[in-house]
Symmetry: C2
Subunit: 301 residues, 2 copies
């Protein structure tokens, strides 16, 4: 999995900071997660091909998480896109986008689908051969979901020497990788585990923004490889969390620790902080593997 | 009048080019004209104070002219704005913005007014002590207005020496500047024209984007000091104007010449052109006083 941060700052876009948007890449698929104003320009800067993005996941309908979407759709259209686009978002976004397209008299020539979310339970919202995506209900001022991306196991890996030694015709290799036993050239059935290796371990990613401290999400994100968790504030401003329904770096680290995640990526910093290193220091007092999101930074695992 | 170009490129925002937005400043008032995606960041770069902007004029509901407005409103709100904001825009925009504010559960704490436009005749839509703003009906794919800003005459200018010689008490100076005759200290009525000078000549500005070649607007913009006219294409691509309802640089210059304007400012360039100097050259073959809009460039007259 490769995560490209397009923007990781809260509230308003500024000259050198961008509101929330990121792209998760997994075995050739690119998933856009949130889409603040200016996302299309950041996407250009990241060099990710626009047509690669076919699924968009919007956490909630505060502007810093979706105001860039209508512009992105319009640009896709201007560029002659033919690839379908599906948007998973809270109920209401379809109405906004549809109204804007209607007023501009410009319905896209590509297939534009909406999956409207309203359930407050975690549910499977997307699935293909490589990944399953589940919602993570979060605790924010309006209806908000995080997203859990769970890779599906890939094919088993052929052990070419063992397969040759077992005298298996190459025509059977694909079946072996799918976990089937096959006959060799002598008609002997060969146990696939003898000539293949286990697939790579599956990878996972949980995106949790925006949310107050919500330990109820821990069972959903248990042991994920990477957790992006918002940390709008430092602990010195914890008193602001209750009204705004945001988290501190310490709270994000506490969630990471409780869930035993592989690594914690912090983001959604309030514009009040000039120096972001304090976020890392505060979180690392609780949980060691902490990294700071930065616009256009990439993370791989 | 001072015009600050925030963006002057057509279609999609790119790393170094911005869609349409500009600010006209006149005797302390700042009028925002169109508001493409990213306008709030450009407004920051221009150093124009956000609260100075109290009137916004939106030409039409194609995204490159208004997708930045909801983000600007949201940012005004986050910054605790109390100053009212009034938006003059085609019918429909109020519904879009209202829906987005409702979905975000975040109606602004400042007064937000909409004046919805639907008339196809030029009409007076805004007026204060210093300026009148009229619509200029344009010929585009959807309902579109340009805007004509006509300054009102300022006060007459006191001739201090003449006023002293005429023995007029300073308490009467304000009345004199308003064009009233006043008594001097000897009780003699003094003709105000004897002790004051004519006010500065009034200035005017016409904004015409987006539009096909539309000579019917010429009587409305006759003799304006400055005309911003879109020139999406060069003449070599004139065949694209009919379907897209845009203009070439030559057509913009023809309008400028017919209307006898003081200066022509070109903009709304298609992204297909790398070198914009060809726009100026093409227009100057028709009309001499041509300048090119550039992002963050200022024009004064």
């Amino acid at each position: 999995m490769k995560l490209t941060i397009l923007g990781c700052h809260s509230a308003t876009p500024r000259t050198h900071t961008h509101p929330t948007a990121q792209v998760l890449e997994l075995r050739g698929s690119h998933f856009l997660i949130d889409c603040g104003e200016g996302t299309q320009v950041q996407l250009r800067r990241s060099k990710i091909k626009f047509t690669r993005v076919q699924q968009v996941f919007i956490s909630h309908l505060h502007g810093d998480h979706y105001f860039g979407l209508i512009g992105l759709i319009s640009t896709f259209q201007l560029l002659g896109r033919r690839t379908p686009l599906t948007i998973y978002a809270p109920k209401g976004l379809k109405e906004v986008i549809s109204l804007q397209l209607r007023l501009g008299n410009s319905w896209p020539q590509f297939e534009l689908n909406f999956v409207e979310l309203s359930s407050k339970e975690s549910s499977l919202i997307y699935e293909d051969d490589t990944v399953s995506v589940y919602t993570i209900p979060l605790d924010h001022r309006i209806y908000t979901n995080g997203f859990l991306f769970k890779e599906k196991p890939g094919p088993r890996k052929l052990d070419p020497k063992a397969a040759a030694a077992a005298n298996i015709d190459t025509a059977y290799f694909r079946k072996l990788k799918m976990g089937k036993d096959v006959p060799n050239r002598d008609g002997v059935l060969i146990d696939h585990t003898k000539v293949t290796l286990d697939p790579d371990p599956v990878r996972s990613y949980a995106y949790c923004s925006d949310t107050a401290f919500a330990p109820e999400i821990v069972p959903l994100i248990q042991n994920v490889d990477a957790l992006y968790h918002e940390s709008t504030f430092l602990q010195e401003h914890e008193h602001l969390c209750e009204a705004t329904k945001h988290s501190t770096a310490k709270q994000a680290a506490t969630i990471a620790k409780m869930a035993g995640v592989g690594r914690l990526i912090l983001g959604h910093y309030s514009t009040r902080y000039e120096d972001l290193s304090a976020f890392q220091a505060e979180a690392q007092a609780i949980f060691a593997a902490v990294e700071l999101a930065e616009d256009l930074k990439e993370f791989s695992w």
